[in-house]
Amino acid sequence: MTTTSHAVAGSPPFRALVEGEVVQAEHLTKRFGDLVAVDDLGFALGRGTVTGFLGPNGAGKTTTLRMLLHLVEPTAGSALVFGRHYQELERPADRVGAVLEAADFHPGRSGRDHLFSLALALGQTTAGDRSFAGRERAARTRVDAVLELVELSGAARRRVGSYSLGMRQRLGLAGALLGDPELLILDEPANGLDPEGVRWLRDFLRRFAAEGKTVLVSSHVLAEVAQTVDQVVIINKGRLVTFAPLAELTARLSGGVRVRAPGVVRLQSALEGQGIRSTLLDGNELLVEGTPSARVGEIAFHAGVLLHELVPESSTLEDVFLELTAEVPS
């Protein structure tokens, strides 16, 4: 899979529109009164990429996605899909599909009728038959196809009120797929799904991406999307933190060693003498980076430092993510 990514730290420089970029945010800003929800955000996603849009709750992910879809008007900057504002696209829902909330259904309407009303608004026809009956027939064909695709045909005639959360997520996905889009935008699709549902979604997104289509999927838990995405946009408090291939994030995984010793300061200078960096955690604890525990023990032995604990610690992707989005005291 080709990955177009542009590692940007802090506020990105202005980038001219590049042909083939499917999603592009430039100096994107949204204020709600005094609250700055999205703050000078910039990133660009190439065709065929699967991007995780990550950040803690309240980071501005949802607002950003809604600005891409012309549901929320930016205060400044621009949010473009296929190089245009969403509302300026010809038949936008044929190019972009979106699942924004798991609960966006009328509980008294059947899943099928929900899709039917959306499909009719899409205005698809078969063989150019623009009669009322022709439009109804085209909509019905498409609705049956997407119901099949998300494995919901059996429950289609039931009221959505009786659906499980997983079924609602799949119904939302079915709605997004009605126009056979090239870009899928999903806002926290794994929220509230059981492990089986998460796996189903992951497999689905992989199949979708394998056809060369583009996915932008948000989550506040990196692990949910880590196996699906090939790059990540991480934001916090509305600002870009990291825009990088997943591999770059993986490279930051470090195996540290935590040492507890009475003479911890002496150990630290001994390590420094060997060119090994370490961080003092408290009075008698030290975190040593990038060094095997045997080597740390050896240095301690030669420095005559008594060790109480020597614990190898490996960080996870989640640690890296949490570290990146940690509160920065201002």
Partner: protein, 244 residues
């Protein structure tokens, strides 16, 4: 535009909301025509004005028609379906226009049912009690077309009202409070203002004999003006408001 209209019509018949409203309207119209037709004495029912009241039971359809429009937009906000609606059709004024037309059509359908009931049952009662029909053809035509215009326009006005208010509960309570309390008070206390209110001009469409009301044609034009104003305000607000 046809696509959006077909979509809106499908939405309207795929929940119980409008069937509930229809049932409510049938119930209220029947109650009104039965009470007027069976409680009044034969002598009273020979009177022109009482026969008018009996046969205009269908005008209660206007309130239910307004609720069709209010629900068509506010239920989308309430259940969040407005998001997928606007993602499929980002041109929001087109969505509002489709809702207005679909509501107009539903309003006409409600009006036809209301007229059928009030005239059908009203005539049957008059005939059954051996009472001669006192209304002339013009008056009957005024009642029929006045009621139809009322239900159609109030349904469209409801879309505008719902779009402005957005909150379903507030919109429904506001509408009922206005129609049953504030508007009545205005007409009682300040008739010079009351005859120009939305309900006041609606009454003039069918009432004809209440002397404080404007003429039916003026009433019709004023109700159209109100409808256009509410719909325009609704479209304006919806186009500018973020969908969060």
């Amino acid at each position: 535009m046809i696509d959006q209209l077909l979509s809106e019509l499908r939405k309207m018949r795929s929940t119980r909301t409008n069937f509930g409203l229809l049932a409510g309207m049938i119930g209220l119209t029947l109650l009104s025509v039965l009470v007027n037709g069976l409680v009044l004495s034969v002598a009273d029912l020979r009177g022109h004005d009482n026969q008018h009241t009996l046969l205009s039971a269908g005008t209660s359809g206007a309130l239910f028609a307004a609720l069709i429009g209010v629900m068509a937009i506010t239920s989308e906000f309430r259940h969040g379906t407005i998001r997928s609606t606007f993602v499929v059709t980002p041109d929001r004024s087109r969505v509002i226009a489709a809702k207005v037309i679909a509501s107009l059509l539903m309003g006409v359908a409600f009006g036809l049912v209301a007229i059928g009931l009030s005239f059908g049952v009203g005539y049957a009662i008059l005939a059954g009690r051996g009472i001669d029909f006192a209304l002339d053809t013009n008056h009957v035509l005024l009642l029929v077309f006045g009621t139809l215009l009322m239900t159609a326009l109030w349904a469209a006005l409801g879309v505008g009202l719902g779009a402005v208010v957005k909150n379903q509960v507030f919109a429904v309570i506001g509408l009922i409070l206005w129609a049953f309390a504030i508007d009545n008070l205005l007409r009682e206390l300040v008739p010079d203002v009351g005859r120009f209110t939305p309900v006041g001009v609606s009454d003039s469409l069918t009432a004809g004999f209440a002397d404080y009301l404007v003429a039916p044609v003026a009433g019709g034009l004023l109700l159209i003006a109100y409808t256009v104003a509410f719909v325009a305000a609704g479209a304006f607000v919806v186009a500018r408001r973020d969908v969060t």
